[in-house]
């Protein structure tokens, strides 16, 4: 795409801007900020990626993945502020799913050992892991607060902390995984996934694009299951003390 063509595409920014002004939606400033930020951020990322792809240095690849994990952790931790040590719990979980998925992909030579594959796939895995972590933490904190009496009931009957929180933990894990599973059920019918659409637009054969998209979907299923379960099992012990008491928050 030429820069002229890209400039003309700013019409798509003008339309919501004019609509906002006409109907007094008050979104003009936010629209401009969003557009300017996305132009700057994406171009910076584009040039950084170009540099990393050309250098083919493992250090830059690791650095890029590290930045992704750090940014995702920083974003997700706000939802779990009530859980002690949530930052490192999220970071460990995201590092684990990244290592696990890349080990399978590279170990079985499903994808080439190049930055061009490692970085975008890492972005999808870590990004999806971040969303899963946010969904899980939101639900888990709400479940533990809403069912505190059930937790105390099981403790009072001589249950362990794990038994006492089991139902809330399972509910939160399931709730966080449902969007990933449900969206995959209608994929291709309701919308074409972004990665697949991008590949097709860039000239790849639709079948090859589908193959890659399927790979990503399978990866994201693993990422979803591992993120929710791992974060759940890392988080619940911090709700209790050594005397098996539910800690006041």
């Amino acid at each position: 795409m030429s820069l002229t063509a890209l400039s003309i595409s700013l019409i798509f920014v003008l339309i919501p801007f004019i609509l906002s002004k006409t109907f007094n939606l008050g979104l003009e400033k936010d629209t401009i900020i969003a557009v300017v930020r996305s132009i700057i951020q994406l171009f910076v990322v584009g040039y950084v990626l170009k540099f990393v792809f050309e250098s083919e240095s493992i250090v830059y690849i690791l650095l890029m993945v590290g930045v992704m994990i750090a940014a995702a952790t920083q974003n997700a931790r706000k939802k779990g502020a009530a859980i002690k040590g949530i930052t490192w719990k999220i970071a460990v979980t995201l590092i684990f799913i990244e290592v696990l998925t890349q080990a399978i992909l590279l170990g079985f030579q499903i994808t080439p050992h190049t930055a061009q594959y490692i970085i975008p796939i890492s972005g999808m895995v870590v990004g999806n892991g971040m969303v899963l972590a946010i969904l899980f933490l939101n639900r888990f904190i709400a479940e533990t607060a809403a069912h505190q009496d059930q937790t105390e009931l099981i403790l009072s009957l001589g249950g362990t902390p794990k038994q006492a929180i089991h139902r809330q933990l399972i509910a939160a894990i399931k709730a966080s995984m449902i969007p990933t599973i449900e969206s995959q059920k209608t994929i291709g019918l309701v919308q074409l996934p972004g990665m697949m659409s991008g590949q097709i637009i860039a000239g790849a054969s639709p079948i090859q694009a589908v193959q890659f998209q399927l790979l990503v979907l399978f990866l994201l299923l693993t990422a979803a299951a591992v993120t929710s379960i791992m974060l759940g099992f890392l988080s619940y012990p911090t709700l209790f003390n050594k005397q098996m008491q539910l800690m006041r928050r």
Partner: protein, 239 residues
Amino acid sequence: MKSAIQFNDVYYRIDNLPILKQITGSFYEGEITTLVGPSGAGKTTLLKLCNRLLSPQSGDIYINGKDIRDWDPIELRRNVGMALQSAPMIDGSVEQNLALPLELQGKHLSEHQAKDLLKDVGLSAELLQRNSKELSGGQRQKVSIARTLVNRPQILLLDEITSSLDQVSQKEIEELIIKINRKFGVTIVWITHNLQQAVDVGTYTWVMMAGEIIEAGKSDLLRSPSNDRVKQFVKGEWG
């Protein structure tokens, strides 16, 4: 008389707010002790200290003569059962709720045992398969008590278990608790807002206010309290 639960100078606070101040006294073995007092007096907190759902910042608690800190929390909680005010139920049938205490130990509750438990608390065996959400307030409390009895506790803590029940259900629960006390020799500590109930059911009564025991003794003390604050409280409750 032998103490089932003994408190020595027990102090409990949340942040800087004292909830219980220098509590000293005993709940006697095999007896029913009722706890009365206005909301916020620290009664529920005191019960939660007895099965270590909470721990005091200072002071000592002895359960059957053994320092509470020396008890394994799980073993302690099986010996010191607690029925909560809201009678929380897990999702599922009455049978699943009754089976919960054994399930937590990896054991199984037979249908026969479950029916016996329902009979013990005066409920029909037909309720066994009913969804716990469909129970009335009284039935729910009785199932909650039956569930607590599965562990065969030596001490039973009851937190305002009749506060939301009608008079008939209240009477039924009172009779049930007296029966459990007599049949199984269980020590009972019962928080109630109903002073008549405290006198009718209790052998001993503690009157608590603002985290302190204001008066303690035979339950008849509520009929002629010596302390002015207790007199005022009793007058307000009984009119």
